[in-house]
């Protein structure tokens, strides 16, 4: 296993970057303004790119520098730009009347993080890696970002927030994969990245259709199909 024995400073750096990404996911959860979501997502992608670069430095995986750069450019700049493009056409600027207000979802999210911590400790205990700080942290943050992404998909009703929830899901997996499996073949990581771009482009087109044909991008108005 790669990162079971890191120096204390490196561990602190890893911790900082991963928990910072988690905190940005909470910023997305606790805010009402759609533009804030987007900026938080962009900042989170930059943090994860920095994490990739750290993994490349401390683990001697030199191809990860390229992955870090591409993440910063594609996930950190291009995707937020595309989402901004979508946002400009929308009439709504913020989420009102969600199913759970932002402060409650913050507290609920905190409980999800504790759940993820429990699962991560259980897994690493079974693996015998319980002493390794970074692995447990990576697993915790990966699982909790997934749970928070799903929470965002559930309690938000705006189309753009749901897109961002999906992107947070993907970001969480990417963060986990950088620390847990840094040696994964580069090609897979790159193709997943491009696939994400195509997916967001499709989302953009669909949001435009939603505006034109359904008249609103909120899922509160999409209740025609039941049974």
């Amino acid at each position: 296993m790669e990162f079971t024995h890191l120096g204390a400073m490196a561990e602190a750096l890893f911790s900082l970057l991963t928990v910072g990404s988690l905190m940005l996911a909470f910023v997305m959860l606790g805010s009402r303004w759609l533009k804030d979501y987007m900026y938080a997502f962009a900042a989170q992608s930059w943090l994860i790119a920095a994490l990739s670069a750290c993994v490349a430095y401390y683990g001697d995986f030199h191809e990860l520098y390229g992955v870090a750069l591409l993440t910063a450019v594609f996930r950190g700049v291009l995707l937020p730009y595309m989402i901004l493009h979508i946002l400009r056409r929308l009439k709504v600027r913020r989420e009102l009347l969600g199913y759970m207000r932002p402060s409650s979802s913050l507290v609920f999210g905190a409980f999800l993080v504790i759940l993820a911590l429990g699962v991560a400790v259980h897994i690493t205990g079974a693996l015998g890696l319980a002493g390794s700080n970074v692995i447990v942290l990576a697993l915790t943050v990966m699982l909790s970002m997934k749970l928070i992404g799903f929470l965002m998909l559930i309690v938000r009703h705006e189309a753009v927030s749901q897109i961002l929830g999906l992107l947070v899901l993907e970001n969480g997996i990417f963060l986990g994969s950088q620390i847990l499996v840094p040696g994964m073949p580069m090609m897979i990581e790159l193709v997943i990245l491009f696939d994400l771009l195509v997916a967001v482009a499709c989302f953009g087109v669909l949001v435009r259709y939603l505006m034109v044909h359904v008249g609103s991008t909120s899922s509160r108005h999409m209740k025609r199909l039941t049974g």
């Binding site: 899901l169 993907e170 997996i173 994969s177 897979i188 997916a199 199909l225 049974g227």
Partner: protein
């Protein structure tokens, strides 16, 4: 890698991209349908012998990123059957919409969709398989939303969000499995299906179980197993009928591969009981949900969609029960479902287009409508609920036998009860539609053309033949696949 195999593979996977190119170049609405049809028929011709030629080998190429084995070839056969039938139907159906300038786009997307489904079984790497499934979602979303109405766009949006969220779970499972494997095989290796099966016994059991369950839930969303099926009735009912047939008959099988191949790895690792147990529970739950929603259904296409949920549940039960009878039954069921479901959708599409309504309470007295095809539709209904002498009866029988052999008594009894409930509920709708009422509703559309009625004949005939005759060649093929599972 023999030459025959290479020719067959190229013949299966190349016509669809060629069709896309040709459709984009020649945008004449009268030609694009024919181009697609020729491509689909070519694909079918080359795909028919493919499973038998592959036999028990599994050759790989492109540095192990692509491969072909008997199971994948079988799925490709099912996909090409549906592709061919739907292409014939689309010739007659799509012209009824009255928007000929959009047809080239439709057929390009249609052929692209078929191509992604044909390529997915060929992919060897777990991560690349995820990408292939994601691509099928992206392409089919635009097909589901093709009719640009409020309901269609809503269905397309629900489809893409739910399925993308679901399969992100399977990406998490893939990462966890890769991590578990990297403790044995080093940080960089190619996680192919075979490597997964090899490494599984040496992986940590907790991680292996967690990874498998995540893969099951993730790809189960795509397959339409309950409780992840919520996108399915919307997407299958709101797309144009040829698209519904493709989604139902072909895509669900392709996604099932993502569950069946890791199941093999779990068996290898000795964790089979957990995997099979969960699969059986999910299969039974799908049957329950399908039964409940079929009984009280009003929309004819949603009825067919819930029937898809039911059949995917049966296939899951087949693989869950395991053993030679279970696997053979599940594979046969895949093929029979791929033939029967388009038949049902075509009949429903004809009725909807002719009478302008999808409400089954208003479609009455249909025995006076479409002279011959209405009886084909009824035969399809009888077939799809699993009655003899049609093929689905044989496959369900095999699965039940497998359940009894595997000592899953309770599951078998529950499955039987639910199948009977679905039989009664489903056929009740047809009884009311066809026999009840004296007069037809007012027709609002044209009589379905020749192309809309033609594909129903070979489908019904194939169902009847497969129900009466279990060819020896098929049994040999199934034995190859079953041996691959040991």
């Amino acid at each position: 890698m023999t030459d025959t195999l290479l020719i067959l593979l190229l013949g299966t996977t190349l016509p669809a991209p060629l069709a896309i190119v040709l459709v984009m170049i020649d945008r004449n609405p009268r030609h694009v349908g024919m181009i697609n049809l020729i491509a689909s028929l070519t694909t079918l011709v080359f795909a028919l012998p493919l499973p038998f030629v592959v036999g028990d080998g599994s050759p790989q190429w492109l540095e192990g990123y692509l491969f072909i084995d008997a199971l994948g070839a079988w799925v490709m056969l099912c996909v090409s059957v549906v592709y061919a039938l739907s292409s014939i139907y689309a010739l007659g159906y799509m012209t009824l919409d009255g928007e000929p300038e959009r047809l080239p786009g439709f057929y390009a997307l249609f052929a692209a969709f078929a191509e992604t489904m044909l390529l997915a079984p060929l992919v060897n790497n777990l991560g690349a398989y995820w990408i292939a499934i994601e691509l099928t979602t992206l392409v089919s979303t635009f097909l589901v939303g093709f009719e640009r109405g409020a309901e269609s766009i809503e269905a397309a949006w629900k489809y893409i969000i739910i399925v993308s969220a679901g399969i992100s779970l399977s990406l998490l499972g893939t990462i966890l499995l890769y991590w578990a494997g990297s403790m044995e095989a080093g940080p960089t290796y190619n996680l192919t299906w075979e490597t997964l099966a090899e490494l599984a016994p040496r992986m940590d059991p907790t991680l292996l179980r967690l990874g498998f369950l995540l893969l099951l839930v993730g790809y189960g969303t795509k397959v339409g197993l309950a409780p992840m099926h919520t996108w399915l009735p919307d997407a299958h009912s709101e797309g144009p009928t040829p698209v519904s047939a493709m989604l139902s008959g072909a895509l669900l099988n392709t996604a099932m591969l993502g569950i069946v191949r890791p199941l093999h790895a779990m068996d290898h690792a000795g964790q089979g009981s957990v995997a099979h147990g969960v699969l059986i529970v999910i299969g039974l739950f799908s049957l329950t949900i399908a039964a409940l929603f079929i009984i009280s259904q009003r929309h004819v296409k949603r009825l067919m969609a819930y029937s898809s949920v039911e059949h995917m549940g049966i296939i899951a039960l087949g693989f869950g029960f395991g053993g030679a009878a279970g696997i053979a039954g599940a594979l046969y069921h895949m093929l029979n479902h791929s033939i029967a479901k388009p038949l049902m959708f075509f009949g429903a599409g004809n009725a909807m287009k002719r009478y302008g309504t999808s409400d089954m309470n208003r479609l009455r007295g249909l025995r006076h409508a479409f002279p011959a095809t209405i009886w084909l539709w009824l035969a399809g209904a009888v077939a799809i609920t699993g009655a003899p002498p049609f093929g689905l009866f044989r496959s369900e029988w095999h699965i039940l036998v497998a359940g009894i052999h595997g000592e899953y008594r309770f599951a078998v009894i529950l499955m039987l009860v639910l199948l009977i409930v679905i039989f009664i509920g489903f056929l009740n709708h047809f009884r009311l539609m066809i026999y009840d009422g004296k007069a037809l509703p007012e027709p609002t559309g044209p009589v379905p053309g020749f192309a809309c009625r033609l594909p129903m004949w070979p489908a019904a005939a194939a169902l009847l033949i497969l129900g009466l005759w279990w060819p020896q060649g098929l049994q040999t093929l199934f034995n190859h696949i079953i041996d691959g599972f040991r």
